[in-house]
């Protein structure tokens, strides 16, 4: 069929099953917006900042597992979107971002709102395209979706000059892609699985180490079955929370810089790491030279470049996590003696009893950890929880009982403040019937606060729980521990009136200073079905513990005061 490039973009999105596009118009993308006006195949959400459009598409993708789609104009529209691309790139989230570009005749002339989008986005996309010919547009769009969602997922940028979206051409959306140079998903080799099975059977202290790749590959069920069958304990990274389920007796907790004692000790003492879609990030390993010194390593990863990147791997398994774990399960069936790791689990149980994930509650002032535990008790498995970056993020990770993958949505790799609210909008668009909570800080929330307006206009009622410590708390914590309490530029005592701010944007606000007020505010916010700010005054100087100082060994943790020596003795 004959149509212009702008219509082709819309047709392609519909053909890919896209229901929601997040975006912001401008000169170079106007042809596409004109085509959007004339179609009803998908809904367009007008965010109030391009960064938020990309984060919203990202939140949609993380919650649903589908490719998220964002659309921006050239120049400043695109540069605003870069943080969103980088955030998605670091966490391997499938996105297609479409940007307008100046007409081809102006390319390279410093034309109005011209910027080299391909050059800027190269290191923060899985792939990117500058469309040079209308005849290539359908193929490129098809490839973009394919590349975004297959293999190790990631964001793909399609930069389209304005003359191309105006030009007429023949549209036939390809049924398949022909990309001979694109690495397809490697098949898991059964010989590699056999070696790994042998290693597991020989191990005395094996440990399942689960990363974000397990979420991306939808491997949760398989991994739970694997742990159940073998009775091998498991730790999760920040990106994997929910894979094992909070109540799972084999789950030790989160490991890493703010991991719990038992998890970090397990990693320090294991003799066999079974890494499933994790990438040995420095926030997880601590000092590399002292990391898991007694361990052999099985590493399952879809990306061969992750194998032996940081930690030498003894048993590499390249391929999809789910497939590999299912093969491990078949290999272990009838062979693994569940009793064989009893002693190991016993040791770990003692560690956990010694220093459980805990905090000292207070009756005078709300402790931020209490808020998270309360949220968990109230909403549990039902809610989707997004987060920004800082102490509040770590408390949410430590204290919320995540029961399923994709329930916890946060920017792990890039650590992007301002991610939480727009990501919550995306998650809520994907699951309108779920309660979506953004656990945020008084610093982070201001970094995309304009999305209150988007939320109100489109009736996307997400609840922002602001753990207000009047600080850039995480930075303040480092200043307390490592900079002799010189609180350089981290004091946020000067604040907006958060309640009034929410109300000004047609949402609802609550100021909370007691536990009762919190319970009431949460209940009311859920009933009101409006975008909400619950602004909670929390203990200002609370620290996130345990903490492994940067570049210290993982078992070198700063621990909370209330240890539990009696329980540890048995």
């Amino acid at each position: 069929m004959q149509m212009n490039g702008a219509q082709m973009v819309c047709e392609a999105l519909v053909a890919e099953g896209v229901k929601t596009v997040f975006g912001y118009p401008g000169g170079a993308i106007m042809n596409v917006y004109d085509a959007i006006y004339k179609q009803d195949g998908f809904e367009h959400i007008l965010n109030r900042h391009e960064q938020a459009s990309v984060h919203a598409a990202d939140g949609y993708a993380r919650a649903s597992g589908e490719v998220g789609v964002a659309m921006v104009t050239s120049g400043p529209g695109f540069t605003n979107a870069v943080t969103g691309l980088a955030t998605a790139y670091m966490d391997s989230i499938p996105l297609v971002v479409i940007s307008g570009q100046v007409p081809q005749i102006l390319l390279g002339t410093d034309g109005f709102q011209e910027i080299d989008a391909i050059g800027i986005s190269r290191p923060c996309t899985k792939h990117n395209y500058l469309v040079r010919d209308i005849a290539e547009l359908p193929r490129i769009l098809k490839e973009a979706f394919h590349i975004a969602r297959t293999g190790r997922p990631g964001p793909v940028l399609v930069d389209i000059p304005k003359d191309i979206t105006a030009e007429m051409g023949e549209f036939v959306y390809p049924e398949s892609v022909d990309l001979p140079s694109y690495m397809t998903i490697p098949k898991v080799e059964s010989s590699a699985i056999e070696l790994a099975v042998e290693a597991i059977l020989k191990a005395k202290k094996p440990l399942i180490y689960i990363g974000g790749g397990a979420v991306l590959s939808n491997a949760s069920e398989a991994i739970r079955a694997f742990a159940e069958l073998s009775q091998i304990p498991a730790v999760e990274t920040l990106m994997a929370l929910g894979v094992m389920g909070a109540e799972n007796p084999l789950r030790l907790g989160m490991l890493g810089m703010h991991g719990n004692y038992a998890s970090n000790m397990a990693m320090s003492e294991t003799d066999l790491i079974i890494s499933l879609g994790a990438r040995f990030d420095d926030r997880v390993t601590g000092k590399l030279s002292e990391f898991a010194q007694y361990a052999k390593v099985i590493h399952v990863d879809i990306d061969p470049a992750n194998i032996s990147k940081l930690v030498a791997v003894d048993y590499p398994i390249v391929g999809d996590v789910k497939e590999a774990v299912e093969m491990l399960v078949s290999g272990l069936k009838g062979k693994v003696q569940t009793k064989q790791y009893d002693d190991w689990r016993e040791i770990l149980a003692r560690y956990d009893a010694l220093y459980p994930q805990s905090f000292e509650d207070s009756d005078e002032i709300i402790k931020p950890q209490w808020v998270i535990e309360r949220l968990g008790e109230t909403l549990g498995e039902e809610a989707i929880v997004t987060s920004d970056v800082g102490q509040h993020q770590m408390w949410a990770a430590q204290h919320y009982p995540f029961d399923r993958p994709r329930q916890w949505i946060n920017s792990g790799g890039l650590g992007t403040m301002g991610f939480g609210l727009p990501a919550a909008l995306g998650a809520k668009k994907a699951f309108p019937n779920k309660t979506v909570i953004n656990v945020t800080g008084d610093g982070s929330i201001l970094m995309n606060v304009q999305e209150l307006v988007t939320a109100s206009e489109y009736k996307i009622p997400v609840i922002n729980v602001i753990l207000n410590n009047h600080f850039l708390g995480m930075v303040r914590q480092w200043q307390t521990f490592f900079y002799e309490e010189r609180y350089s530029e981290t004091d946020l005592t000067f604040q907006p009136n958060f309640k009034a701010l929410a109300e000004a944007c047609h949402g609802i606000g609550y100021d909370v200073t007691t536990k009762e007020e919190f319970d009431m505010a949460l209940k009311d916010a859920i009933e009101q079905d409006k975008v909400a700010f619950i602004n909670i005054q929390v203990a200002r100087f609370e620290n996130v513990l345990p903490m492994v100082p940067a570049n210290a060994a993982l078992n070198n943790m700063m621990l909370p005061k209330i240890a539990n020596p009696d329980k540890g003795e048995k």
Binding site: I118, R122, N128, I147, S181, D303, P304, A305
Partner: protein
């Protein structure tokens, strides 16, 4: 860290942005490309990029894996078993003895390729270490300009 020299040969789709994608992997890691050559592969839509670089084994292994992941990259060859050649053009003033220059070029499998009013140009194609020696040896003829090409390599 233990620095090694490596020649990496990459077969790529012949498209406008592929060179920047390849070069970007080096730049992003603070790695220097020592030499670089690019040319289309005859009778195909592909090109070959040949890069000589120095670094520790692990980073080079990592770069090789990352190169393989680039969408327009078909093949990456990185090992020691390569026949390598490099080319150099040297401009000498004619105040220097032409015959001696010619002998020197020939000793390195080269020749004089151009003689002008007041200068001549010698060309040598040989292994990179021999090119280095040639350049050193030609110093005594006061070269005006030296243009060195990148390494091209082929598997043995």
């Amino acid at each position: 860290m233990n620095e090694v020299r490596r020649v990496i040969s990459i077969v790529v789709e012949n498209e406008s942005s592929v060179l920047s994608r390849v070069a970007g992997l080096f730049a992003g890691r603070g790695y220097n490309i020592e030499t670089l050559t690019v040319a289309p592969i005859p009778n195909s839509k592909r090109s070959r990029i040949t890069i000589a670089t120095k670094g520790d084994e692990r980073t080079i292994a990592q770069i090789t894996k990352q190169l393989n992941k680039l969408i327009p990259v078909y093949e990456v060859v990185e090992h020691n078993e390569m026949v390598e050649k490099e080319m150099v053009l040297v401009k000498f003033p004619l105040s220097e003895p032409l015959a001696d220059i010619e002998v020197l070029c020939e000793a390195y499998n080269g020749t004089i390729v151009n003689v002008g009013v007041d200068m001549c140009i010698g060309m040598v194609a040989d292994e990179p270490c021999r090119i280095k020696h040639f350049i050193e040896a030609s110093a005594r003829f006061n070269p005006i300009e030296i243009v060195r090409g990148g390494v091209v390599a082929i598997e043995r």
